[in-house]
Symmetry: C2
Amino acid sequence: MNTSTDSHKTRTGTRPQGQKSSTRERILAASLSLFNEQGERSVSTNHIAAHLQISPGNLYYHFKNKQAIIFALFEQYQQRVLGILEIPAGRTLQPQDKLHYLQGVFKGLWDYRFLHRDMEHLLLADPELHRHYRDFFRTCQSRVEAIFRGLGAAGILNVSEDDISGLALNTWIIVTSWFSFLRCNLLSDEAGTISPELLQGGIYQVFTLERPYLTDEYRDEMIALQQRYMPRPSWLVHDPAGGE
Amino acid sequence: MNTSTDSHKTRTGTRPQGQKSSTRERILAASLSLFNEQGERSVSTNHIAAHLQISPGNLYYHFKNKQAIIFALFEQYQQRVLGILEIPAGRTLQPQDKLHYLQGVFKGLWDYRFLHRDMEHLLLADPELHRHYRDFFRTCQSRVEAIFRGLGAAGILNVSEDDISGLALNTWIIVTSWFSFLRCNLLSDEAGTISPELLQGGIYQVFTLERPYLTDEYRDEMIALQQRYMPRPSWLVHDPAGGE
């Protein structure tokens, strides 16, 4: 996971090596798990320390407050996503690359799902995180635009430069809003009912964005890939509890 | 605004006539304004009563609690949106209809902006609102699908039935997430910095979704309409404070 993060400097400094690293990593892993399960607003640093059976002082030695933990988790998430959104060196893009990108990004969304769940709240609470997040957005936009250009160069899409930035922005919005869309529109309660499988229904929607740009040569192959992610009809139109 | 709301029954009952109606309407208007300006979480029923210089008892005579006020405002919003998303009777759709739909819906988003700002929170707090919201989503999807079909029948878009549901769902997500997108990605603080003009940048993005489906006959005209909403470059790619 030592992928480049471009200009994104770490606020929490370089990662301590050796034994300190182990406690630091355990704090981050436990925080991520608690934030994801219970919501970041419900989890305090004391809660995290108790969960790990360490003293609050030991936790504060590694992170001065909860914001610093959130910031470090955001950096992990950012590294993960930017590591995925690379153009492979020395070859043109293939249809499978598209799946690799989307599966990787949606897996990242799932693993760090507390972030996009309450992003506005997190950003309002931490202006430095907000600046980094905006940089991350812009870097992602550039990467996604490069991927669309690459799919054009590979003959998979027929897109003009005029189309690309709008397409990249719509992709960002669909991907980052998908989880919230599921919670608002599909689920009557949230206890354990959003699964990675539901989340991956977003892959179908992202394919929908670029479907009209598919070239004749690749249309059938790409639509067959998209169909794998077709949501069950009961999700989107009918009652989630019932059939049709 | 006596448009049909389909199967959406009013929980708050029929609107009282005469003098009661006036206080009720004042409570709703003041609540909407306070929720929009200060965020719903920061505004209590006592706050609303004090703002109107009425007693809390008078407020409770009209609404048993804050949730009932939110529910009534949601019903107003729903009526507004469903009133806009009608197919005109007796004629085919025109390019200007598309603008009418989008301007109306984005104006509704702006006027009731507290709703989509914290929708998940509102829905978790009120399961009945959540049920009504899901019905509203499904009704909107059907209406938007009918509009896309109408644009197809008018020769403006070349869309297949396979494309329409994905296109309608992407439209919903872009529209309802646009405000949150602006706050997360563009603005460093939110005091008064989101304007109706910024919000209307979402219209450009929605046009982007259907752009590849435009027929040769209407492409130039529709792209000219879209250009009116082109965001300033500084919004989306560069620092909001600076130029390029």
